[in-house]
Symmetry: C2
Subunit: 326 residues, 2 copies
């Protein structure tokens, strides 16, 4: 006899209030103007629904990550700020924290593995961040030691309420820019962005369904939702390098309680969706950023009658153009 699914957990109270999200929006608005929403009739035809693309590649730093990083940096008190901030990341959060620290005029240390791509290291430095290299398996240990030495505040790339509140501003903007959405589709990695967007919808537009989009090769959120408990992502295999992480202790309850479902997509679908973004939207989107469009085009995406007007968050555009033929 198959095991019955676990009884659903009771809904946890939302991690952040409507006032928390509004405070983040107010805090960020002098620094980050809203990103545009793009549309394409040809993509609408392909998808069989109206799609509204939230263009986070056009965000400062080339991805949504600056929202959470800057909100967390601006929330520090003066004494904390004076000692600087610290993270470990080889992805978009590394650049975002360097930018955010620069905007507040404080120091940022970014721990990166020795084998991090040179363009990512250069980008952090260009924004004024100090890169500290470590062995690939020593990231947290190196960050812990640096924190002890410097007194800097450690900011994780997604599993932190101030970071999630910052990412929520992406959802608040989209809801203000596009009325009467039926659904929003968001790429899922560590879950910072989708948690923020889900909380924005919960507080501002509870009828809007939020769907996650995840690579089949890094589907911890889909598996966690199915099993009703947070599962790790031991061996991610996907071109979508920003989505190789697993949900965290703060993001999991929000995904569990306020995200409708997770649509998983294959690698070929991710690449095809990325190409459609470049071609039809004229927007350079990285693989992780296009997973949401791939989900909208997937056979198992909820039928049009359940989602005729869909917000599609394209989360970032930091792709290495080195391989381009020009």
């Amino acid at each position: 006899m198959p095991t019955p699914p676990p009884a659903p957990a009771p809904l946890a109270p939302p991690a952040l209030s409507a006032a928390d999200l509004q405070a983040a929006a107010d805090r960020l608005s002098p620094w980050l103007p809203p990103t545009p929403v793009l549309t394409s009739r040809s993509l609408d035809r392909i998808a069989g629904r109206r799609l509204f693309f939230k263009a986070e590649p056009l965000q400062r730093g080339g991805s949504f990550k600056i929202r959470g990083a800057l909100n967390a940096v601006l929330r520090l008190d003066a004494a904390q700020a004076a000692r600087g901030v610290l993270t470990h990341s080889s992805g978009n959060f590394a650049q975002a924290l360097a930018i955010a620290a620069g905007l507040r005029g404080i120091h940022a240390w970014v721990v990166m593995p020795e084998d991090a791509p040179a363009v990512k290291v250069a980008a952090v430095r260009e924004y004024g961040g100090e890169v500290v290299f470590c062995a690939p398996d020593q990231r947290q240990a190196t960050a812990d030691r640096l924190r002890e030495q410097t007194g800097a505040t450690f900011l994780p790339s997604y599993d932190h309420l101030d970071v999630i509140a910052g990412q929520a501003t992406c959802g608040l903007e989209l809801l203000a820019q596009v009325p009467d959405l039926d659904a929003v589709v968001v790429p899922v990695g560590g879950g910072g962005l989708i948690s923020g967007v889900a909380l924005a919808c919960l507080h501002r537009a509870p009828a809007v369904r939020v769907w996650g989009a995840e690579p089949l090769g890094a589907d911890d959120a889909a598996r966690s939702k199915r099993e009703g408990r947070r599962l790790p992502q031991p061996d991610p295999r996907t071109i979508a390098d920003g989505l190789r992480t697993a949900l965290g202790v703060h993001t999991w309850p929000v995904v569990r309680d306020h995200v409708q479902g997770i649509v998983t997509v294959g690698e070929a679908e991710i690449v095809a969706a990325m190409r459609l973004c470049w071609e039809r939207l004229k927007l350079v989107v990285e693989p992780s950023g296009a997973v949401s469009l791939a989900a909208c085009l997937a056979a198992d995406f909820p039928a049009p009658e359940r989602a005729g007007r869909v917000g599609v968050v394209l989360s970032g555009g930091n792709v290495d153009l080195g391989a381009l033929p020009f």
Copy 2:
């Protein structure tokens, strides 16, 4: 003894009034929302000035051309409209006219050379246009014959006052979006876009200088300005395929009288500027569209003190992605 330069011609009265331009803006606004203006601190650093990028790749059809095409189509009276419209073009105007005709619900014939790229033919058809093939040297003759057969109105891609008035809305938008510009830089092919933008500045913000940007391999505008008379472009050689045309009888007097100067750039500079647009702005820009940024980065661009805040029109993004490695 060197020949002295010709005496400057007296300024011709502007081809279009402020009211003409405003009427075009009012006519187009229900159909074409303003395109965004993008900025990049890293490009500002490279250029040594503040750059404000008018993102026409995000325009309907992927370039500014729909502005002029739709304005001309909407200006037809009912009897003319019923007989349809007609052009010859293998570039962005072909698609734009097909879209514009579709919006008004009328027929569009597009004469294209037999060797036109398949993607361009497919795009015109996707928008509902009827493609009529001809020998490469029979474009005008074929169009003339079609006009006699069908009674359709021939609309040229740039040398027409209604088309120029439509393109002017790009300039009107930019002036409304970015206050206190010192200059605007615009790619120059047939001169429809730069004429429109120059007239927009003349009527709305006469202190704003308008500069043209042209490939060295298709520099008829630069040569025409130097000689004070309209010169042909017999043998254009440039990757910027949208700029291989020469100024027309309507666009030349505007360029002569209301454009500050033409900056010419080499092929390597055009490709480098295109790459910067993709990398730093996350915007897919075609070679012709990036010539304006190339001009801003050129050694002979007017010094910063003369142009500290510069509008840069990125005119289109219809590049064939077939060669991309994904």
